[in-house]
Each structure stands twice: as structure tokens, then as C-alpha cells.
Amino acid sequence: MSKRVLVVEDDMVLLFFIKKMVDGLGHNVVATARSAEDAIANAKQSDPDIILMDIRLLGQMDGIEATSEIHKFSKARVIYISGNSDPRYFERAKQTNMHAFLVKPVSTEMIREAIDRLN
């Protein structure tokens, strides 16, 4: 079943590739964002089922803080995609009721597996 996906990634090229992978899996990318502030605003506006969230973002807030804010008004499931699996980040991410934590570089299969586990 097609899901509504919000992709949050600071790197424009990676954002493009992740969007393509999600599209390729047959899901609908309803919005994208490169900063935490945009992610919160877009999550409010587009009400996604799934958020693919990078941890390092443009601006002061990071992806984990953005997720905490989003969870105040949204029930979207969060899959972190990060270049850093440092235990400190991982522990913080775990506290935001995350669904999965993927380490870059991600493949279509990794995203597919993580989304499939939601069902």
C-alpha cells in the first residue's frame, strides 16, 4: 500500500536520491525539507505516514529535536537516515519512539525493508 512520505535531508543531492528511491518503491513523497524548521512546518501541512529523517540538518535544531516537535501533533512513523551511528545519537533517537535507524549510504532495499516492517 502506498504511503505518504516526508523526506528530510540537508544534502540536496542525497535528498534527490532518497526521493527517487522512495518513488521507485511506489510510495508518495508528499514533501521534502532540509532544515528542522521546514520539516516541522511541512509535517504539519502534509500529514505524512512516514518521515525519513536525517540527523544533521541545516540550522540550529537537529533531526532528533525536530522529531520530538513533530510527535507533539503527528503520529507519523520516523525512520532515521544518518551518517552517524554514534551511540549518543542512537540513544537520543531511541527516546523519540523511532521506527528504524539506517546508516548512510542507504539502498532502496534498506528503505523497502524498513517501510515493510511498518505493516
Partner: protein, 426 residues
């Protein structure tokens, strides 16, 4: 001339190498011995002029003892010198009192004994002080009872002679008492001024130390700032490397969306896995340990999970059994090992592409001392199964990467499809 002689005698035993307080102690004792010898000499002159042989001998022994104490001070044996002065003062009072009787007033010199003890011994050494006081008390008791109870004395002095001695001894005793008292007053002032000087020197040192501490703390702050900057820079560079690898991987991934199934697709997937092999090392590297080391067991397990996902091991019925000891490697060897394992497992993808079913792969890495032994085994003989295997891209990579791990390369058991390599983990 006399003042130089006095100075030479009183400063006998004092040198620049000595501690200031010890020098003061020696000078004080020399002065005491000198004055005692001087007063004794006046008596000696009087006894000689009156042809009193026994008192002359007795007082001469006292003078010798006082001079002896100065000699010992010169040799820095100040404890022994103090003991000699104690004996000499007791002996002088005892001998003269026993010769001339209690009425002669020689015992009046015992009035000076507290100040003499103060000169000779430290207040902290209470045992010495008590023993010295007791010695003077004993002398007084002996002198008193010898004359009063046993009427013992060598010379019977007439009442006028007795009165003369009593007055002279009384005056001399008082003079010595005053001199010693004044000396202590002066000495206390000089000790105070010495303390003030030392205090000032300490304050100056304290100020120098405070400045030094401030400078050090500023330097430390600067260094810690620089270190933090470098850490941030390193972390940023590291993040950039990982992001760039993710971009390259994304590029390959994107190309797979338009690639045809078959060899072209397989080549792209293998490249993606190679990029992941490198990216994982950057992910797992421990930069905090000072020396960049990578936990290889965790890294390889994650790589195998990724390869299994990319090459659809589950769907294609490929089973992987791993057995690995824990070990760390530096970046260079870790890179070679990670890529080597990727190449070995890529064969499984090619096997599945050729519709070979029920593949089983065993990977074992055992640590034996400073050496790791890698053993790869599969049941589809990929190393020799491929056509022109010697010239294949993957086999060429296996050779190069093995050579990087161990100059002697690897061994192959063709019959059982076993690949084996040993390499140092140092």
C-alpha cells in the same frame, strides 16, 4: 682588634652554606660560652693573685669546658656543645660553692639557668629542657645540703670575705641575667624581622606563582579551544566523507533504476556494495581512542547484512554462517579486509544470477595471538566456477587486496572451495 677577636670567636662554625636559623643558634651559644669563660677568667685572675690553688684549678677546668663548647660548635656538633655548656655551668657553680661554701653566693648564678636552657635547647624538646632544669636543681640541692647539713667547704671564709664574694656574685649574676635578657629581646626582634623578610619573599614567590598559573591556565584554555576546533573540523571532514560516499552510492543506486537486469545490474550492485564496504569503515572508526581503530567483527557483520539485502540472499536461498572473534584493525588493513570480504561474497550474487540454488557460505575469522586467520568456504565453487576466473575483475581485486593484507597472499583449496588468508592485526 678585640672586636675582631670577639667576632671570630662568636662566629666560629658559621658558614654561608649553613641555614640562617642554625647559624643564629651557633652564634648565640658561642656568645654564652664566651661570656661564661670571660667571667670565669676574672675569677681565675682573682684566685691566682690571692694564691688560691684549688679554686684556680677548678675555675680553669670551667674555662676549658667553655672553650671546648666553642670548638664543638665550630665542628657543627651543636648538640654535644650544648651538653658541655650544661656540664660546665653546673660544674662551675658546684665546684666554687663546695670550695667557698654556700654563703659565698656562687649558687646565685643558677638564677640565669632558665635563660641558659632557653639558649641551649629548643622549646619543642621538652625532655631536654626538663633534664637541664633538673640538673640545675640537683646542683642547688647538693650545694645547699653540703654546707647547711654537713658544713662541707674547703675554705673557711671570714664574714667580710663571704660578704664580698656574695655581693660580687650577686652583681655578676644580675649582670649576666640582664645581658641575656637584653640579648633575647634583641634576638626576638631580629627573628621577627627575619620572619617578615621571609614572609615578603614568600609573598613575592606567591605572586610569581599566581602569574605563572594564570599564564598556564590561559595557555590551557587556548589549547583546549584549539583542540575543540580541531575536533569539530575533524568531525565535519568525517561527516563530509560519509556524505560524499553516500552521494556516490546514491548515484550508483540511481543508475540501477534505469539499468537492465543481468551483468550490467550486477556490476552496479557490486559497486554499491564496495562503496558501502568503505563507508562502513568511516562509520565505525573510533576517533576518540587517539589511534584510529575499527572494530572489525561488528563492521563485517553489518557489511554482510547489507550485502545479503542488496543481493537478495533470502529470496535466492543463500545461507551465510559466520564465526568471528573480536578484533580491531587500522584503516589501511580494515579497508583491504572489508573489500576482500565484499568480493568473496559478491560471488554468491553471481551464483544466484546463474540460478544456482541452495548456496551455503561459511566465513570464519579466528584470532591467534597477533594474527588473524580468515577462512571462506562455499558450496558452489565460485572462485573456479566462473569462466576465465584468472582474468575476472573480482578475482583480480581479491589478489590485490590479499596482497595488501599479507605479502605472501592467500591459499586456495580448489577441491573444497576454501579460500584462506592469514594476516597480522597489529
Amino acid at each position: 682588634m678585640l672586636s675582631r677577636l670577639y667576632s671570630t670567636i662568636t662566629r666560629s662554625g658559621v658558614s654561608a652554606a649553613l641555614d640562617e636559623s642554625l647559624s643564629d643558634k651557633i652564634i648565640t651559644r658561642n656568645r654564652l660560652a664566651f661570656f661564661c669563660a670571660f667571667f670565669s677568667s676574672l675569677y681565675l685572675l682573682y684566685f691566682i693573685s690571692n694564691r688560691l690553688v684549688l679554686p684556680s684549678v677548678g675555675i680553669s677546668i670551667s674555662i676549658i669546658l667553655f672553650v671546648l663548647s666553642i670548638i664543638y660548635n665550630r665542628r657543627h656538633k651543636i648538640g654535644f656543645s650544648a651538653l658541655i655548656i650544661l656540664i660546665a655551668t653546673n660544674y662551675s657553680v658546684l665546684s666554687t660553692s663546695l670550695i667557698f661554701g654556700f654563703g659565698s653566693g656562687f649558687h646565685l648564678y643558677l638564677l640565669t639557668s632558665p635563660l641558659i636552657i632557653y639558649v641551649l635547647f629548643d622549646f619543642k624538646r621538652s625532655v631536654y629542657n626538663i633534664m637541664a632544669i633538673m640538673s640545675y636543681c640537683l646542683t642547688f640541692i647538693v650545694v645547699f645540703f653540703a654546707d647547711k647539713n654537713y658544713h662541707y667547704h674547703v675554705y673557711d671564709l671570714s664574714s667580710s670575705q663571704s660578704e664580698f664574694f656574695y655581693i660580687v656574685n650577686f652583681i655578676f649574676a644580675i649582670v649576666i641575667l640582664i645581658v641575656l635578657f637584653l640579648y633575647f629581646m634583641f634576638n626576638n626582634r631580629s627573628v621577627n624581622s627575619l620572619l617578615v623578610r621571609k614572609n615578603q619573599a614568600l609573598l613575592a614567590q606567591q605572586s610569581v606563582l599566581r602569574t605563572e598559573i594564570e599564564q598556564r591556565s590561559k595557555a590551557e584554555e587556548r589549547l583546549s579551544g584549539l583542540l575543540k576546533e580541531k575536533e569539530i573540523l575533524l568531525s565535519e571532514v568525517h561527516h563530509r566523507v560519509k556524505n560524499n560516499l553516500a552521494v556516490i552510492s546514491g548515484l550508483v543506486e540511481y543508475q540501477t533504476l534505469t539499468a537492465k537486469e543481468g551483468e550490467q545490474m550486477m556490476a552496479l550492485l557490486e559497486h554499491k556494495n564496495r562503496i558501502k564496504s568503505i563507508a562502513l569503515l568511516h562509520e565505525k572508526i573510533n576517533l576518540e581512542a587517539g589511534e584510529a581503530k575499527i572494530k572489525m567483527d561488528a563492521c563485517i557483520n553489518e557489511l554482510l547484512r547489507y550485502i545479503a539485502l542488496t543481493l537478495n540472499f533470502k529470496t535466492n536461498g543463500i545461507t551465510v554462517n559466520t564465526k568471528m572473534d573480536r578484533f580491531d584493525l587500522g584503516m589501511e588493513k580494515a579497508l583491504a579486509l572489508s573489500l576482500l570480504i565484499n568480493e568473496l561474497f559478491s560471488g554468491a550474487g553471481r551464483a544466484s544470477a546463474k540460478k544456482i540454488k541452495d548456496c551455503v557460505i561459511d566465513l570464519e575469522i579466528k584470532i591467534e595471538g597477533n594474527k588473524a586467520v580468515l577462512r571462506y568456504n562455499d558450496n558452489y565453487h565460485w572462485l573456479f566456477w566462473e569462466e576465465n576466473s584468472q582474468n575476472s575483475f573480482s578475482n583480480g581485486l581479491v589478489e590485490v587486496l590479499s596482497g595488501q593484507l599479507n605479502d605472501e597472499g592467500f591459499t586456495i583449496d580448489a577441491e573444497n572451495s576454501v579460500f584462506k588468508i592469514e594476516f597480522s592485526i597489529l
